[in-house]
Symmetry: C2
Subunit: 118 residues, 2 copies
Amino acid sequence: MTEATDDRSEPSDSPCDVDCYCQLNGLMDLLSRRYAMQLICVVGAIGPARYGEIEDTFESVSSSTLSSRLDDLVDAGYLSREQYAEIPPRVEYDLTDAGEELCRRLQPLLEWAADRDV
Amino acid sequence: MTEATDDRSEPSDSPCDVDCYCQLNGLMDLLSRRYAMQLICVVGAIGPARYGEIEDTFESVSSSTLSSRLDDLVDAGYLSREQYAEIPPRVEYDLTDAGEELCRRLQPLLEWAADRDV
DNA sequence: CAGAATCCATTCGGATACTG
DNA sequence: CAGTATCCGAATGGATTCTG
């Protein structure tokens, strides 16, 4: 018999093997970009949020950076973007279902992170 | 009375206000670097792990990148590094207490992420 | 108001070669 | 084995200006 002191050679039962953490997948790349994780939780916290609201929440973020990060999250399906035909224009971002799930999984991390090093 | 349809104007009771997500703190910067989150969970999964073990777990990572990421996490206090005076040299990385807490908060996220986009 | 476009300094991470 | 040192292209994010 093959020596199997641990289960690393038999990934059959584990629903999520260690290796799964290592395949750099698109989501991790996305979340690693600046403000991405914070944005999910902020939108989750203040519900449908206008662009300006979100911008104000962050102390300093350039509009170009914020825009591209919002686009990323919309394109990836974690944020929805509703544009109203008004003047002045109004845009509202909100979490999609996937975004809510993501937010749920991010919140424990971000809360702890915020406590740690303010 | 002041209108308070939501609690955004009264952040008194909330232990972690929305704003806390926005202060870009050092931990989020650290976690946003490549492999950082995965490393925490990998070390959490395979216990005390040698450098080579960790390297093998990732399909492709240059030693320079892996080294610097491990250094980051050690310096930040999430990984411990034990070096044994043997030949050939042996080094073992493990989670610190803070690292374990971090791992606990990362795991739900990474497991979900791995399921999502393989 | 909610961005888009452009430009640019900095940072990041991979490749490669070398070492105690 | 477990890195370090150096080099370099690519990606990132900020500043600024402009627009429907």
